[in-house]
Every structure is written in C-alpha cells, then in structure tokens.
C-alpha cells in the first residue's frame, strides 16, 4: 500500500512536470504548426538561468525572472530566425529548431561549463511535506505539482478568454488574409512562440533543481515530450495532460515491477530455462523494459489510434 501510493504520487509529479514541458510544445504546435525541436532546450535554459539568478537574488525572483527571460529569448528566436524560414514551409521550420537545439546546448556549455551546476532546492522548500506510513514526501514535489496545475489554469484562461487562438490558427494557412482583416499576425506569432518557450522555461526552473541541471538535460526529456504530444493527440492540450500523467505513472510503476514473462508463465507451471526459444525476451522484467515504455506506447497509439488520445486530426 505504502509502495503503491508513493509510487503513484511519484508518477503523478513526474507526469505533471512532463505536462509543464509539453504544454508549451503543444501550444506552439497547435497554433503555429511548428514542431519546436528546441523546446527542451528552452527548458534547459530555464533551469540554467534560474540557477544563475538564484545564486544572485534567490529562488523566488528566479521563479519569475527565468521564464520571462526564456520567453524573451524565444520571442527573439521567432522574430529573427523562425520568421524568415516560415515561407519555406514546416519542414524547414522544424529543421531550424533542430539546428537551434544543437546551438543552445553548445551555448549553455560555453557559458556554464560541461558538467552539472549546483542548482539547489531552496531551503524553505526542502524537507518533507508529509509522511505516508514511513516514507516522506518532499515539499518540493508538492510545489512542483501545484505550479503545474496553476499553469494549466492560466493557459486555459488565456485560450478561452481571448481570440488569440483563432487568429493564430487562421494565420497558419492564410497569414495575409488574417492581416487584411486587421490582425497583427507577426506580433501574435511572436507572442505565442515566446509564451510557449516561457512555459518550457518555467518547467526548467522547477525541474532543474528537482532533478539535475546539466547540459544533457534537454536531450533526456526531448524525445519523451514529443511522445507526449503525439500520444495526447497533436495539438491537444487536454490530450497532452492525459498523456503526460499516463506516461509519468506508467514509467514510474514499470520501474518498480520485477515481473517478467517467466514469472507469469511459471505461475501456470511452465518450465522455462535459458534454452527456451525467445528466452531473451521472456526473461526481461517490466522494470527492465521501463525505458522503452513511452516509445512502445507511441507506436501502439499510432497503429491503433493514429489521432492520439484526444486529437482531432491525423497528422
């Protein structure tokens, strides 16, 4: 029981972090059609900037400033880079952000070095929030979950209370026409891209000290958040939330389960030795396959439900 509950909580908090990360990606994708390959790099920038700011002014200013800075950087990337590639189509846009992810990693290493930086959880958030049976649950995890939920609320409000979403979707196909109707499209696009990046930055501020702030942190989550976006349904925010939680919980539980086909089959009295055909597969425990879970899920979803969990369109 203790184990199940704690693992569930761990899974949920990891899932919510994934959501913080993928929400920005989904937002940018659904509105601009740009699959921002460098999204995880902005997450990393958020963490590093937060580290630097927090050593100067403390964690709380960093929580506000770092995402803003990342947002501004994102807006600049849109303004001076992406915008000029836009006319060539989506694949070059994707390639641009792909190249950007290379450059950002290098710049981060240039500025902060090639190894981990000591970005620490602030003292006031360090320590146990509550004790479940004998296991303590850290305050910071709770804080992380809280921020994710607040973020979800904020995005929801912006999207439902403003017309921005419509303008951007329309501009996806006919930017000139939208402009002729009186909307300042370039500025809106810049804001959206910047906003999406800021969300990634916020996730970085939170995730950077919960886990590790290092140059490879972008690569580690990079592919997973793409999985989230596809599994959730390209461009669906609710889908992204569900997929994040699903993957978070799935992966956390998977790590903890030591069953394999062998243990399953031996319950039915089957004798399996290393000579049995397919032994290599049969002997794998669930925890050993944990790393491929998200990707397996991705492939299965694409085969059986190509729209994704909540998607409306197919690719």
């Amino acid at each position: 029981m203790e184990f199940t509950l704690i693992t569930l909580l761990n899974g949920l908090s990891y899932g919510l972090l994934l959501f913080m990360l993928s929400s920005g990606l989904t937002l940018i994708f659904s509105m601009m059609g740009v699959l921002n390959f460098a999204h995880a790099s902005f997450y990393m920038l958020g963490a590093y900037l937060a580290y630097t700011i927090s050593t100067m002014f403390g964690f709380w200013p960093a929580l506000i400033l770092a995402p803003l800075l990342v947002g501004v950087l994102g807006a600049m990337v849109e303004r001076y880079g992406l915008r000029s590639v836009h006319k060539y189509g989506h694949i070059p846009e994707l390639l641009f952000t792909f190249g950007l992810s290379y450059v950002i990693v290098e710049l981060v290493q240039l500025i902060w070095g090639r190894s981990t930086v000591p970005y620490k959880i602030p003292a006031e958030l360090d320590g146990p929030l509550f004790t479940l049976y004998t296991t303590t649950f850290p305050i910071y995890r709770g804080f992380m979950m809280l921020i994710a939920l607040l973020m979800l609320l904020a995005i929801y409000l912006v999207l439902t209370r403003t017309r921005i979403g419509l303008v951007i979707q329309a501009a996806l196909t006919h930017p000139d026409t939208v402009e002729a109707l009186g909307h300042n499209v370039p500025r809106v696009l810049m804001l959206v891209f910047g906003g999406g990046c800021a969300l990634a930055g916020l996730a970085g501020v939170i995730g950077g000290n919960a886990f590790v702030t290092e140059p490879s942190m972008a690569g580690t989550v990079g592919s997973i958040i793409f999985v989230v976006v596809v599994v959730g349904g390209m461009g669906s925010l609710v889908g992204a939330l569900m997929a994040s939680l699903l993957i978070g919980v799935l992966q956390t539980f998977a790590v903890a389960i030591d069953y394999s086909f062998i243990s399953l089959l031996s319950q039915f009295g089957a004798q399996i030795t290393s000579m049995t055909p397919g032994y290599a597969v049969l002997k794998l425990t669930v925890s050993q396959v944990a790393p491929i879970m998200p990707y397996l899920l991705l492939v299965l979803i694409l085969i059986f439900r190509p729209k994704g969990l909540m998607g409306t369109r197919e690719g």
């Binding site: 203790e2 184990f3 704690i6 693992t7 761990n10 990891y14 290493q109 090639r114 190894s115 981990t116 000591p118 146990p128 004790t131 004998t134 296991t135 303590t136 649950f137 850290p138 919960a210 886990f211 590790v212 290092e214 140059p215 490879s216 942190m217 580690t220 956390t252 539980f253 790590v255 903890a256 030591d258 925890s287 050993q288 790393p291």
Partner: protein
Amino acid sequence: ENVKVAFIDTLSGAFAPIGQNQLKSYQMFAETANQQKLAGANTLEFVGFDNKGSPQESLTQLKTVIDQGYRYITQGNGSGVALALIDAINKHNERNPGKEIVFLNHAAIDPDLTNSKCSFWHFRFDANSDMKMEALTSFMAKDPSIKKVYIIGQNYAHGQQVTRAAKEYLKRKRPDIQIVGDDLHPIGQVKDFSPYVAKIKASGADTVITGNWGADLALLIKAGKDADLKANFYTYYAGTTGVPTAMGAAGADHVKQVSYWHPNNETFSGKEIVEAYKKKYNDDFYTLATYNIVQMLSKAIKEAKSTDPTKVAFALEGMKFNSLNGEDEMRKADHQLQQPLYIATWSKVDGKTVKYDQENTGYGWKTDQKVDTYIAAQPTSCVMKRPEKS
C-alpha cells in the same frame, strides 16, 4: 623526449566532473614528476580527449590519437570503454608492429580486464571489483545486524560484475543474509531514483550494496534521503565528485566505502597532495591511481632507458613501488596492481581520525579497517601473450 599520454575519458556529460578531476591530477603530478626528473631526461604530458563516456567514441578518439602519434593512453571511467579499448589496442598492436600502444587503466575495475580479457598492453592500477568485494563482504560478514541486502547497479560491465560478486561472496560468507532485490538501471540516464528507492523500502532491506559512481550514486542517495530511507549503503565510489554533497550530514554513519586509499588513512599519507590539489583546483583529490601511474610510468621509462612502449611495458611488469597506501606490486601474471584496501565510514570531521573532509561538507572518511594486500588478492585466469623481448 616529451612522452605524450592521451587521456581518453569522459570530459562532458553526467560524469564529466570525475574525468576532469582525474585529468587535473594527472597534470599536477606530471608537472612535479617533470620537475623532479623522475623519468630522467624525458618529460610526461597528459592531454585530454573527450570520449563522452561511450565505447565507440573512445575508439574514434583512439584513432585520432594514434594518428597524432601518441603511444600511451589512459582511461578509467567505465569498464565498457576499457573493454572496447583493450580490444582495439590488441588489434592495432598486432597489425602495426613497431607502433604499439600501451593502455594505463586508472579506474576501470571489471575483473575480466585482467582475467579472460587480459592483455600485455594493459595495466590496471585500481583494485578490481572482485578484490574490493572480497574486502567489503568480509567486513560485512562480521556485522550480525545485516539481514536483508538490496543490490543496485548501473547496467553495464562494472555494475553487472558487482552484482554477481556480491551475491556470490555473500552466499559464501553469510548464507543467512537474504538478497531481497537487485536492480540494474541504465547508466547515466536516471535523473529520479525515487521509484527505485520506493522499491528498496518496500523490500525491507537494511543494507544496500552499490557499485554506482558519480551522478548515479549522488542521485540515488539524494532520493533515499528525500524518502527517509534508513538502510546503510555499502559503496565503491561514495567519494567521487557530487556524492559527498548529496550525502551531507544525512549520510553520516550510514554510508561506507571500499577503496584503495583515502586521505584519512592511518598515517594521513598523501596529505600534501590533497592540500596542494585543493589549493590549486579547489577540488578533492581521490584517484590515487593517477599518482601511481605517473610515478610508475616515469620509473619504468627510466629503468627501460627508453620511451618505447614495448620496453616500458616489460619494465612495468612486476614492478614494485612504494605508494601512499604501502608497497604495491604490478603483478606480472595479469597486470593487476596488488595493493591494500580500506573500508571507511562517512563521518563528521573530528580532527583526529577524520581530518580531511570532502566538498567542504565537514564530513569525511573514517577508516574502519585496512585490509591487507594478501587478503584482498584474487587468483587470475589470465593467459598472457607476450611479444618477443628484443
């Protein structure tokens, strides 16, 4: 002549701090060795090549350094890499007689490297994982409070060897101890160990054995601390960069380490080095093998009166050397350095037995036991092919 040694090791990524730390110690020792003319008229120079911790990248770097004329390489962080290097060097030396390369290993401790895979061109200056496990389990065997043990390790050569040896030796020495779980996780990938910690807790283990190092150990311990895991840790590498900070006060008296040297040894031998290193780089010196390599290589060059790798290799074989942990011998049969080992506990600095802390935590290693060379020594299955002695 200036003998250039290529340090092909991890200088970026999760384990970079360890590689950086070792490269710096090499360079510091080479500087003093050159001043003291330990290798006669020859000087040593260590140059870093980043292998990103990958076997394949290491071979690419090996090609590069061979093309640039290097004849000596050192490596250590990762037995996977070492296994690949030993293979590649064997092939190279066979195909390019007269251009042989010698591989000086400062930390890769998979026992195979000096057993089934042993090579004349490879010398290991660390104690191998079986030696360390021998010492560790002998120590554990004496503690009756140990009842349930959980083994966790990185999923690659070294982690697998530690798991195997732990099970084997504990069974031999303390059949009553129950192994309540063992896990191998991807190396350098896991950023959140809390699921593993939940598992350890659920298993009811009172003791954890792990061969993890660097970030993989720091994060494991941090997650244990967060979830209030009470088990004791028996480690190989709690002294590597990042782990001391993660342990802090919470790890005191809970974490043990087996090693072939640490600064708070019986005579504090090596304290000058520790202090000099700290002063120069504001970092802790912990890889004694780098010292031994510089010293013994210089000595071998001097004795061989040549910088030719083959001759130097012959000179290294069987060499005896007075190091900081006592008298060490490069065993001829398998090129495994024979040396004593220490079991130590993470404890508050008290100025008497624990003088030197790590990472400015105020905590350091306190010797529980020094295990003599002959106790830790292991038999070898090495059948070494030697070149003709010219």
